[in-house]
């Protein structure tokens, strides 16, 4: 049997939209738009996160992100990074919906600048309002299975717990909690933040996450395009390992060669 046939089509769906790539990448911190576009291509990502900011009125002819990453080819996921209250986040996403014309958005309401840890009270409040206004919010959240349930009930179309603080590159510090959230969720669960290198992304996928979202791990690598490739392979590998079903763990050795017939 052909290997690819046995692996089969493996897609995931969020808010009625189906994707093949399980890697979502950010578009911040790159040295240039060219490097950013090359990294996105190497990552195989079908979704990129973007920020909403004031246009540069002093120099409106400056190159723009949309000149390098075509929103018709790659889904732009507007993010509320930098918002510390539900009201700021909602205001940002209303503008994003008008600028882009779509309702799939990433909600992120931060609690404080030092840890960029989510403020779950404000996050939940914003999720409720956004869902009522017709948005499809994918929600950055704490690694709290109960809070995640509340978000789902409020209308979150995806749950996106942090694996470690945003931009820290520490790798998943909370594998047990992430696994519990995956088991409990009825919407996609994606690790959002904390990935530092390829093995971290593989760990997230092996836990059963539907995807991984990252920015700094690629943008701050010495060779971002090569790291984007590594992340694509890691997400694919971790996903396949999860689907394949890993062996059980043993406390002691178990020989791979038969004991019978030993000379």
């Amino acid at each position: 049997m052909n290997v690819m046939t046995s692996i089969g089509e493996d897609t995931w769906t969020v808010a009625g939209r189906t994707f093949r790539s399980r890697l979502i990448v950010g578009t911040g911190k790159y040295k240039s738009f060219e490097q950013n576009a090359a990294a996105v291509a190497a990552s195989g990502a079908e979704i990129v996160t973007v920020a909403v900011r004031r246009v540069n009125i002093a120099d409106p002819k400056q190159p723009m992100l949309t000149d390098f990453i075509d929103p018709k080819q790659i889904v732009y996921l507007p993010n509320t990074a930098g918002c510390f209250t539900a009201d700021e986040a909602i205001r940002t996403l209303r503008l994003a919906r008008e600028a882009g014309g779509w309702t799939l958005v990433k909600l992120e309401v931060l609690g404080e600048a030092k840890t960029l840890y989510p403020d779950m009270i404000e996050t939940l409040r914003a999720t409720e309002i956004l869902a009522k206004e017709g948005f499809d919010p994918m929600v950055y959240c704490a690694d709290d299975p109960i809070a995640a349930k509340r978000l789902e009930e409020a209308g979150a179309v995806a749950i996106m717990p942090l694996g470690a603080p945003i931009g820290s590159g520490l790798g998943l510090q909370n594998e047990v909690m992430i696994r519990i959230m995956v088991e409990n969720a009825t919407v996609p669960v994606l690790v959002d933040a904390g990935v530092g290198t390829a093995s971290d992304a593989a760990v997230a996928m092996e836990l059963g996450c539907d995807g991984v979202l990252m920015n700094t791990a690629i943008a701050e690598a010495k060779d971002p395009v090569m790291m984007a490739t590594a992340m694509r392979l890691a997400v694919e590998s971790g996903r396949l390992a999860y689907r394949a079903g890993r062996m059980g763990k043993r406390r002691y050795a178990d020989p791979s060669s038969p004991l019978a017939g030993l000379i």
Binding site: F33, P78, R91
Partner: protein, 72 residues
């Protein structure tokens, strides 16, 4: 209000004087912006893109004009 045929507004936090009777589409043109790439908020209310050519700027208006930029 100064009676010189202009009105005083704020755009992205900066003060600006524009011709009285100017529409938002005309303001976008004057600022060199591509209207299909931006979103406009007027006094905290979203202005639908389809109405930019109809909305007349009024004295004291406060505008935010935003677009998508790189981010995480």
């Amino acid at each position: 209000m100064v009676y010189d045929g202009t009105v005083s507004i704020r755009v992205n936090g900066s003060h600006r004087r524009v011709r009285q009777g100017m529409t938002l589409a005309e303001l976008a043109l004057e600022l060199g912006l591509e209207p299909t790439r931006v979103a406009v908020e007027r006094n905290l209310e979203i202005v639908p893109r389809s109405t930019l050519a109809e909305v007349v700027i009024e004295d004291g208006d406060d505008y935010e004009i935003v677009t998508f930029v790189g981010g995480g």
